[in-house]
Symmetry: none
Subunit: 203 residues, 4 copies
DNA sequence: CATGAATGAGCCTTCATTCAT
DNA sequence: CATGAATGAAGGCTCATTCAT
């Protein structure tokens, strides 16, 4: 049974993830976080020491690690498809338990003191994983630089839907990121990317 | 001959573009902008009424319009290549006269009161232009939804290099966006995208 | 055998004396005191009611009372010398068990609610004792006002070394209050004062 | 004619001197200072940048420098008497224009970031001046260490009346630091000290 | 017409204190 | 009886904005 303290801590972390994801680190205020968590203004400093450390704790990389599931026996192509679909769900699904990726996506554009931590623990493994996958698909002849750019092409396509969401909502007000739409997007990105990757292999 | 007032106004706009591009709307301070423009701290409100309106005025879409140059006689494929190269130069070249795209790129993630204007006057025409180009390449059989996602795939690849710059600098400290690198990136994105697009056409 | 509670109380008092002596009443924090006493942050309020009352309890005047030891048979001059030496040891010796005088010395400049108590129980007896000693030395002809000022002259010389310590450390970084130095200081103050006092007697 | 800004600045400095002298650096609040100066809370940071820098500016050492007036032709003894009298007036006279010494006296017990400045610019010259004077009185045979302790004895006697004021008011409620009393105190300290000093000379 | 000065709301943080267990 | 958690007032400071000249 969680203690009262643990509950408040958890509520603070959840509220922090929401507010950081919505307004970025700078735009988020401790007061707003505490208000949402129904806690006192001083609660953040009591439980985490500072706004910075709250952000550091709010980050957890489990969701990202789950993306790198092994799927033994599956071909690299299938594993890439699965990765893209899971990543898009993480990024776009409103019901996603983890706002992890959104917080990170926000911070990418406005480095905070914890960006180093985010990069080392969250993003670098992701890039490595994707780099390995791409390597398996395009084969050994392809240079590191090219493989890297292929990773960026895949990630760029995925992240665009998150970053550009406010714009896309204005351009296409009818757009909704429901399960079917997310699935369709993921399939498109996977098709688009695999076509290009396989062309590099044969090339 | 511009009056002293007009000069101050112009310096404020230029300074605003630099600072907004560097720190985002929220991160930018009126004081910093005025300091760079060597103007009084009250100058922004005097000339533009508020920080919001300064941002609105600081935006000009000429650079974006220039991306949509006609290039009569060129094939759609070539025009897409040219677009991607010019866009990447605009986004990444430190010497780029216009920080326009960076301001917009920054704001996409944190809607401000001027996002509507940015979308209508800057981004929508760009999407339309790219949509037309993609349509010419993939042909008429392809649905609007698919064409749209192709546009997103291209833009996503381009914008990634801008959005993820702080992360990429940490992952690959040796990375520099010099002319050759930008050219190589643009070529990669064009190759990657055209391969995928042409496959859709034939498909 | 003291109960656990009693031990905590004692540790709190000892920690309070250290922290009050080091940072003054205002500069001291309840948290720091509790941390040093390895007690809960609420312990101070639990055991003493408030920070104010903790200070009141932390004061004990035994060390001061010991200064007024009788030394039967000794001349007033010798008793003054002994008093000055013991007082300087109390004020300056790092190994002094009692930080009592330092707490009081700190508070003199910034009246707290407990200053009345300090004055009545600690300082007034000290002044009286020293006044009596001075009276014995200078004789009956000297007015009360003059005798009082002589007391102030002696106390002022002693307290200076404590009050001005941060300044003196900057002016004379080589200065250390070791046993020999304290002895030398006490001898100087006693010589200086007795010369002046005896001159008043003969005058 | 002073500008409005200059007036506010001056009022802030005067208020700062009063509040710093009354409550010390830590005890003083920017809000209280601004309230007394009838200025906005942000005025201190606007004009001085921070509370620290306000303290640094609030200090001016003119009054202390005036203590070291030359008095050509006067004997060292007379110059010491004059110094003590002027110092006591500075310390005790309510009507004294400069609260300089009191701010410094307060800070001695609770080092702030500006203590170094206070010591270098204000106190060190004072100690040097007094050391020279004492040297002239006691002659060359006396060691530096002894001369230093004589300086401390004089300063200690003077500062006592300031430091111990809250205590003395409680012990002797009838005490008032009017002109006559200050004069009497100064005379006592001078007599007391000169007697001791001259004894060292002959000794 | 333009500016230095002033404003007040709001930021993160610290603190002594109180509460629920 | 004792504690970890929670509180809210207050701290110094920053900011976009407004005002008086």
């Amino acid at each position: 049974m969680p203690s009262g303290s643990e509950q408040t801590r958890t509520r603070l972390l959840e509220a922090a993830r929401e507010v950081f994801a919505a307004h970025g680190f700078q735009g988020a205020t401790v007061r707003e976080i505490c208000r949402r968590a129904e806690a006192n203004v001083a609660a953040v400093n009591y439980h985490f020491g500072s706004k910075d450390e709250l952000l550091a704790e709010a980050l957890n990389f489990n969701a990202l690690k789950a993306l790198q599931a092994a799927h033994p026996g599956a071909t690299p192509e299938v594993r890439l498809r699965l990765f893209i679909r899971d990543f898009m769900l993480l990024l776009l699904d409103e019901k996603s338990a983890s706002r992890q990726c959104r917080i990170m996506a926000r911070e990418l554009a406005d480095p905070t003191p914890v960006l180093d931590q985010i990069v080392k623990q969250g993003i670098a493994p992701l890039h490595d994983f994707l780099g390995g996958l791409v390597g398996e698909i395009v084969g050994e002849q392809v240079s590191d630089a090219v493989r890297l750019r292929c990773v960026f092409s895949i990630l760029g396509q995925c992240l665009f839907y998150y970053h550009a969401e406010p714009v896309l909502q204005r351009l296409h007000p009818e757009l909704r990121y429901d399960a079917a739409e997310i699935e369709a997007i993921a399939t498109h990105i996977a098709d688009f990317s695999l076509t290009a990757l396989l062309a590099k292999k044969s090339g």
